[in-house]
Symmetry: C2
Subunit: 101 residues, 2 copies
């Protein structure tokens, strides 16, 4: 991953918060809404973007007679997240190793 080509997934609070939440396991729409404080419309829109980009999978089903949308991060999404963190770590390390000026 290049610093000049950071994926859009990491470029808004909301998408990043969703991905972060999903790192630790499946979450449903309701959970994500509560965790992020997003409105329905916005959350739906951003989830769709993350899905289209291959970062998450969305599974729709009826649970206890209620519709339930459950989301999970894909291997790709997890990998991209790791790469992103490693990129930033690398930059920080470089800087702290004293390559100043």
């Amino acid at each position: 991953m290049e610093i000049n080509a950071i994926p859009e997934a990491f470029q808004t609070k909301l998408r990043l918060a969703v991905l972060s939440a999903l790192l630790t396991g499946k979450k449903n729409f309701r959970d994500l809404k509560q965790m992020t404080g997003a409105t329905d419309g916005n959350l739906g829109a951003q989830l769709k973007k993350l899905e289209e980009a291959g970062y998450i999978e969305i599974d729709k089903a009826f649970v206890n007679q209620k519709p339930q949308t459950s989301c999970q991060i894909t291997d790709f999404g997890r990998g991209q997240f790791r790469e992103y963190v490693e990129l930033l770590e690398g930059l920080l390390r470089q800087a702290e190793d004293g390559l100043k000026d």
Copy 2:
């Protein structure tokens, strides 16, 4: 730092690229323009935002009879960068420690 309150500085390719570049030392306007591929107007605008937010310091002087704008990251900026990386590292670690589902 909270996942729901990621600073704006980290929310666009350009600002993040500028901060990254400055981590390893001072850079002037020209350097940053070349490194990021940004246009004058856009770079100027984003530098201003970073400065207003206290992430960078901008120093204007004449060098070799030419105006030279040199930018450096502040301690605050560096600290925020580190916090941001640590936040993401923490999330990743949590996830990899097997707190799945």
